[in-house]
Symmetry: C2
């Protein structure tokens, strides 16, 4: 029997069921995930899709798929709100004195990538910027116009949802019925250029105070928000690709509109598997920038937010997110984070213990079976909490072997070392945090020397020195445990 019993299954938001994963052109896999809008610092809500799709990226690579992972950076369109507030005054000034939206986008995009690096999120294969793909978006707008699914009004181009829905199904992903929606809302929200409330802009005419603008066949403007993902996924992954991911809040209207745009422009369904991560909540409400109830990742790392009882290491945050399945909500609380911190430390200690375990001639633990259970968890729609439960089962075994209560033979020990490390580091993407570690090689050596001096002091019945060393190490957070083989320590 192979190490894996099952085939990978994933939940497809489009069919609303789990499906066996069969890429269009295996072993190649194309995956597109909606990235951040870079006009503010990333918060815990942004860490969620970052980590969820990093887990998926890592597992697919572990299974030897050749993954091209594209995650976009939205640096146009969504910036308009910022520019609306008083920017017209600044725009009158000389070019260099004026706010340059790209400077803001660069700053927050750099910070976002730094945050993801801290969370050990692997960098995607391509991180395209929306502002860098205006031509591709204009070309797609033209195609949709040519196909008859859009209309022009005062320099803007709107997608004709009603007409599209007569031929195709607008609402198939989100499960909405557009006719019902239309019956209930005839209000155009002041956007009187649109024919129907459900229509959406795929190109917007730029008002005079709008800084980010490009010349187009329809006048000076900028692309509608949904357009960038359709254009960039087509450019880098083709008209049909395997996985499209993003937060559940993007399913409608963003992803629904992406499907409509691609079908209208290219005549084919763009995505085989739609995947959505659930939200991070705080007091039961979605954490989001627009709601103002967010805690930034930097605030977590430094502990500088009134709701935080302490600072949390990036790996605590990562482990906290992974302890929930990506399709469940995650509710923020200090208690839950502190429990995650303990769990993470327990796992890291087990890694160190495992490294020192000695094999016996007899064997009490079937590692191959355990290994298959770990794969089964991941094969069941990337179920990281179940995988983590299996890892903690192994932690119990590891500690029992260390305490001499259980035995493990060479073959099983080698497999356990390989598999335990592979699931912990390569697949879950955890990393030994510096602070949870010995504080560096030099510190470890210094502590070893001090314990040696303490040992000799004890042999010489110099209890004062021995106690002094123990007390001072304890003050520095070094815990000493005397065993038959000598003193052991951990931070």
């Amino acid at each position: 029997m192979s190490i894996k019993e099952n085939k990978l299954q994933l939940y497809n938001s489009l069919s609303r069921k789990k499906e066996v994963f069969e890429p269009i052109k295996g072993p190649h896999v194309g995956m597109y995930v909606c990235g951040p809008t870079v006009y503010g610092d990333a918060h815990l809500g942004h860490a969620r899709p970052g980590i969820a799709f990093d887990l998926i990226f890592r597992y697919l690579k572990h299974l030897d798929y050749k993954v091209r992972y594209v995650r976009n950076i939205t640096d146009v369109g969504h910036l308009e709100n910022d520019a609306d507030h008083g920017e017209d005054k600044i725009a009158k000034k000389a070019r260099l004195e004026q706010l340059e939206p790209m400077e803001i986008a660069q700053y927050f995009s750099d910070r976002y990538i730094d945050n993801m690096d801290a969370l050990n999120v692997l960098r995607p294969s391509i991180q395209p910027r929306a502002s860098g793909h205006i031509i591709e978006q204009m070309e797609m707008v033209s195609k949709i116009l040519d196909a008859g699914f859009a209309y022009e009004a005062k320099g803007s181009i709107y997608f004709d949802v009603v007409k599209y829905n007569k031929k195709h199904n607008y609402g198939k992903l989100s499960g909405r019925n557009i006719e019902d929606v239309l019956e209930n809302t005839r209000d155009l929200d002041g956007q009187e250029d649109k024919r129907e409330s459900v229509d959406f802009a795929i190109w917007k005419n730029a008002s005079p105070e709008h800084i980010m603008r490009w010349n187009s066949p329809w006048g000076s403007g900028f692309p509608g928000w949904h357009m960038e993902c359709s254009a960039m996924s087509t450019k880098y992954l083709g008209e049909q690709f395997d996985i499209h991911g993003g937060g559940l809040d993007l399913r409608f209207p963003h992803h629904e509109s992406e499907i409509a745009q691609s079908v209208a422009a290219n005549g084919s369904e763009p995505v085989k598997y739609w995947m959505h991560n659930n939200m991070v909540t705080i007091d039961g409400q979605k954490m989001g920038k627009s709601l103002g109830n967010f805690i930034t990742l930097d605030e977590f790392f430094t502990g500088s937010h009134k709701l935080l009882a302490q600072a949390y290491e990036p790996m605590t945050i990562r482990f906290f997110i992974l302890q929930a399945h990506y399709r469940s909500t995650v509710d923020f609380s200090n208690e839950a984070l502190q429990a995650s911190q303990k769990g993470y430390e327990k796992l890291m200690n087990a890694v160190e213990t495992l490294d020192k375990l000695k094999a016996s001639d007899t064997n009490d633990f079937d590692v191959a079976q355990w290994n298959r259970k770990c794969y089964s968890a991941m094969d069941d729609d990337f179920n990281s909490p179940i995988l983590i439960a299996h890892l903690f089962d192994a932690v119990k075994i590891i500690n029992s072997v260390k305490d001499g209560k259980l035995k493990i033979n060479t073959e099983n020990l080698e497999l356990l070392k390989t598999a335990f490390n592979s699931f912990t580091f390569e697949i879950l993407g955890l990393r030994k945090d510096e602070k949870s570690q010995s504080g560096g090689e030099l510190s470890a050596k210094l502590i070893d020397i001090m314990l040696k001096i303490r040992h000799e002091a004890k042999l010489n019945k110099d209890w004062a020195t021995a106690d002094q060393i123990r007390n001072q190490l304890t003050d520095l957070g070094v815990q000493i445990k005397d065993t038959k083989e000598g003193a052991e320590w951990q931070l």
Copy 2:
């Protein structure tokens, strides 16, 4: 008298002399520097402009200028050579299986930024990608065509250097006389669509195997290399801005052509101060990718190149580059790098010594005068080697004060601490490298405890323990020096 006697002067490549720096719209400064072509790892030659213009960026900011620093990423045009080799085979395959140039560009762009981070090069305000500004480049091509300084030939657009030179001066930056050039070279290098050998493409018709291409009014193609810098500097800094920098090898034809493009399109000189860093040489030859004689920065950091006697810390590389004036060549050798490493360590040790110095009632060193000399060095076209010489003068003073041979009073000591740290860290951009440091706070505390135990062992005449501690610390590279005030240590 103020802390600064002089005004900042910089060498303008255009006038070939030093000029007082007067920004067009002070206190705002616009600076554009030619960044890397991202199709390979960065080598020592790339570190040079990165560090040279980082020094300039840092010093301008120190002088309270509000600098918008734009450094581009060339991810199109220069990639064509890679695509020419055998790519037609791959292009036949499905989209996802095919080489995606943007994946290569993303990979090497990420690595370049990581390398610059390691060298403590501050991130520019904007890092625009050439591929993200095709519209702006097409619009500039159109303007040049409209102005009559370009012509179309078989889907490509060429800049008409001969016509331009009749009205303006093509060659003013590089000092070349185009009529002489034309008399000597009538050969068109097989590019028979061009009218004259000196003409250059501002838009290129894409051959069938070319992957990176965009639709334009002149057919499917891509911009000529010189065009990106003209279009992006205009977009982010305006039609006239303060500083344009880059390597000396870019002065002709790249920067010469940028001037011609901007004058042709906008009718005005684009740049007030042109600045060029000199080359890194190896065996007297320019280190460059095309010459194949380069050592990558990662190879320096790991020591994994046959010409390297050891690994070099990023700060050693930075200090090595800064020890030469940016307009002088820097010749690679292990001896020179090892000397830089020692110099850097000496400087870092002085920082620690300075921190512990005690003030006296009398004073033997005029810090204000020394401080003015440091500013004068920087004001003289950013003369970092002279600044470093002044810092080493201060190191001598610092060590003399420590040894009790010289005295310094409170006022001078405070100024020395502020100025020495400011020039070392803020302006030269050096950073305490981890390996040159105590190995972390924990190690420092452990060593302090061990010295305390050793001190008590000596008081108890337990010479064995005292010697043991000293010997074991020495083995770990911790040097102990007994002084009247107790033991001191350094790594």
